[in-house]
């Protein structure tokens, strides 16, 4: 699974993108984020407040209960500020 991070979540996580292999019990975005937080370091800080985490799976916006699979690209980022 490919995970990409943007803006201050990228900075706190300390990585822009990475390939990960979560354990089989990680079924959805919420589970994935919990697993990432368990890795410690900046991840716990980046995802401390789930209310500011926006998610896209395969470049489409989804909610935290959306399923994730091995071949997915999951993007985690704060609320957008373009325009």
């Amino acid at each position: 699974m490919k995970i990409v991070y943007f803006a201050w979540m990228r900075e706190k996580a300390g990585v822009g993108e990475e390939e990960v292999t979560p354990p089989p019990e990680v079924k959805d975005v919420r589970g994935l984020i919990d697993w990432l937080k368990g890795r410690g370091g900046g991840y716990a800080e980046a995802f401390a407040d789930l209310s500011v985490v926006r998610v896209a799976v395969n470049q489409e916006y989804v909610t935290l209960d959306h399923p994730v699979a091995e071949e997915d690209e999951v993007a985690l980022f704060p609320p957008v500020t373009g325009g």
């Binding site: 803006a7 489409e60 609320p79 957008v80 500020t81 373009g82």
Partner: protein
Amino acid sequence: MIRVQREKFDLGAEVARMTEGNHGIGGVCAFVGLVRDVAGDQPVAAMTLEHYPAMTEKALAAIEAEARGRWPLEDSLIIHRYGRLEPGDAIVLVAVASAHRQAAFEACQFLIDWLKTKAPFWKREDTGDETRWVEARASDDHATRRWRRGKAAE
């Protein structure tokens, strides 16, 4: 049409390209967003826009398609820049052409309102002393909600 680019754009040239050869267009409404030199009470020396290249064009195309479905538009154009910009630089252009002005005005406002809360861009301001990520504004969410279908203006 959607364009995501680092380079500057020329409003006049873009509008001319849009209207050339289509005399069914009765009006064009355009919005250009610019970098200001102040944010709150802090000066802004520069701004850097990050985006999600794999998703940006797709998200903007979806926003454009939504507008084309709601209003009778002859043409539409969204140009959004990324990279380092300075006060006075243009960030974004939204231009829509239609037979009559009401559709053009409404669609233009809709596009910029939706884009602000749905297009995957993030601004980082440089005050000269420090850099900080711009926080999303509740007023932008409110502006987007106004366009929910079947709901009266909130």
